[in-house]
Symmetry: C2
Subunit: 490 residues, 2 copies
Amino acid sequence: MKGLQQHPLYAMVNPRSLAFFGASNRFSAMGTNQLHSVLSLGFEGPIYPVHPQEKQVLGLTAYQDVMDLPEVPDLAVMVLPTSVVPETLERCGRKGIKRAVIVSGGFNEVGGQGPELQKEIKDIAGRYGIRFLGPNCLGVVNPYHKFNMTFLPFTGQAGFIGFASQSGSFITQMFDYLAGLGIGFSTGFSVGNEADMDIVDCLEYLAQCPHTRVIGLYIEAIRRGRAFIETARRIVPHKPIVAFYVGGSELGKRAGLSHTGALAGPDKLYDGVFRQAGILRARSMTELFDFCLVLGSSPLPQGKRVVIQTHSGGPGAVAADACGRAGLELPAFSPETVGRLAPYVPQTGSLNNPVDLTYARNLEDYFKAIPETLLSEPRADGLLLYLMLPSHPMRRVLSAMGVAEDQIQAQIDQMVAQMAEYLIRLTAEQTKPIIGFSYRARVDKLIGLLQQRGFPVLPSPHRAARAMDALVRYRHLRERFGRQEDRISS
Amino acid sequence: MKGLQQHPLYAMVNPRSLAFFGASNRFSAMGTNQLHSVLSLGFEGPIYPVHPQEKQVLGLTAYQDVMDLPEVPDLAVMVLPTSVVPETLERCGRKGIKRAVIVSGGFNEVGGQGPELQKEIKDIAGRYGIRFLGPNCLGVVNPYHKFNMTFLPFTGQAGFIGFASQSGSFITQMFDYLAGLGIGFSTGFSVGNEADMDIVDCLEYLAQCPHTRVIGLYIEAIRRGRAFIETARRIVPHKPIVAFYVGGSELGKRAGLSHTGALAGPDKLYDGVFRQAGILRARSMTELFDFCLVLGSSPLPQGKRVVIQTHSGGPGAVAADACGRAGLELPAFSPETVGRLAPYVPQTGSLNNPVDLTYARNLEDYFKAIPETLLSEPRADGLLLYLMLPSHPMRRVLSAMGVAEDQIQAQIDQMVAQMAEYLIRLTAEQTKPIIGFSYRARVDKLIGLLQQRGFPVLPSPHRAARAMDALVRYRHLRERFGRQEDRISS
């Protein structure tokens, strides 16, 4: 692989300067919205809107012609009507611009002239040595470079998920969704019709991107199968790759076809591709990001033996069921662990796995001594931890203790922060993964605190168990593909 | 079935007065928390705490002995150490109390003396004609009677889900979760060890409860199989029943066993039970409540042909894939519908199903004219509607129009409310179900507004498609079991 800065995608997500085509002062226009996104994240380089009539666009000096720009910008962004894209690209080429993101649609994904036009822009780009993303895409986001040119303003947080998507919506519409899980994109590429740069190029780039700990892919069809597999295989020993393939059902396939004009293959074919490539396959977008969350934030388990800690029988039983369905195992504890746990578990609780502490426990035990003990169990490879910390019992205890009303909330916040701190410290000392689960992310402040600190919490035991299994599977993949790599390089 | 007020469970969820055993002024005690829950929801009848030492409990006059109470209360609630339950129940019987909820654990679900003690309380109850729920349960909630005796205060909203659960956590810990979907319990029963009243009794009660539109069950094991099936079959033509069975995997079964001491059967056996009973089986708690949401709020579709409306190709493709996996069909449109849709769909959009409007649409079309047109398609039985209404483009349009800064938010809110209103009106006129889906429930105000008004919105296309399929399946079940009922009664 080439160095990161030499990669053709580098300037597309780290441009020093921009030519922007298709933004105006008409507020409902797509291009205007996208330029607004760029401005609102505080992009630091010069931006040159190009517009045939306007003197100013969103407060920036506009240029009638790209030839008039005072410098050769790193990147041209085009949100133009289809028919003017070829000549605009031609003029960009003459100006000396070498990179473009072509948002405009109306190419291979539609019938009629579309494919011919796509060939035309590819030819023009070839003549001028322009590399480009799109057409028919929503652009890119790189919060570390304060660069978001997608439709929606960047409202989330910078994170560790490098994402390449055959749907731009799954970048721009997911900022807030990911923030709700405490995660975010490192870099996101909407690849559109992949006339030039494709998902394989994105894989290569994200493999080297220092902010990217895990790579996510939304796939409607893979155009370069062999290159895709070979590239992924080289990456997997170093970074996990998770993919959601939408063509898996007949209906998904048909919808994908009309979306980007790429022909999807049968589900089993893609299963085989992902298996050969060492890629973890997710069953939905939700699962894709769940897997990214834990893969980017957790150590890998040695095996698939999991301990479940709860203070409620039902959530414990459901988590056990979920582990069973996910192919995980629940080991019985060694006598030593049983002995160490006994003082913490009330008569009504259970020393089996799931450990059910019922309600009668003190907080510190639940968040410190007990998970510590469970993680020291040699028969266990990871911990699923049920999280529930309602504030009202604390409120009443403090009130009964005579704490002044105006002090109570602060003291509760402090206690909750302390419990979060115990768990964060525990993860720092651990080589085994811990995944939290809760149904109460809306009300339990603990959940938000943990997520902010990078501790993975999922909103149901089934999602937590599937995510734990993804860690187990990635460990196997990493070992398998790592060994193969050794053989190849030796 | 007996009349609702004659049902033994009636006074347990609609008591006019309570004797409360096991609450004190010790704030960490379970019983104290539960009495606090009762008080905080504003229970309107007299409450008589019984406590050997305290003169007052949480501000209420306490009684040393149940015999001292000034009246015979409708219900005794017991959150007592196991060993004192039998004699307390005995004294309640002597006082003339006929209903009890026994929260205390330490009976069949533990070894040793447990089963013997459970037999003892059953005998005592029998002698005095006491009917009871539990032991080893978390009690009941009936927001319509302002009665919540579960561990957590009632923070949600009264709703239409009648719920009977072999885990109390799935009642008390779900108040907020359900509120996040815009739904709530009508009545919830934590049945515990089912020494007297069991899940079949709850089915009977909920079938007649006027606030209950759909019945949900969390099941670890069914004790009276034949009665369960027969009761459910009588209910299904009138009200849908959804169940999640946790013993479906070997691990779930083991966990359930240690939780309530009931022996679960193999997964296939339960599949057969649910099929014979006409019950929709959910695969997780999440799915259980998703199904309850749509079954309680939507008309039933004539068939399984679904239209998907989006303005994003990716979410459309994913929804199509999800429909395929859920066994739904996506019909092609009749020429008439194509003709009516054409003016609304831009060149970059798609007139196929999914209908992909891309971004360039005006709001009113998306929320009014287009769904109306789609629902009038005779080949379609229901609509999956992608919801996304970010406020920032509205904000910029209003700002450009010269609307004063302090007026902008109010005008946005008004526009969002108007779009919600269109959809609500549409559902009021419709006999076809509409299910919304969105990844942006945290930020798009539209979602919350719709949920408040009873319009179902789910947080992913896969969940929405599965829920639509639940409607299709319930329609079949209702017809099948309704016909059988006709034959029986004729």
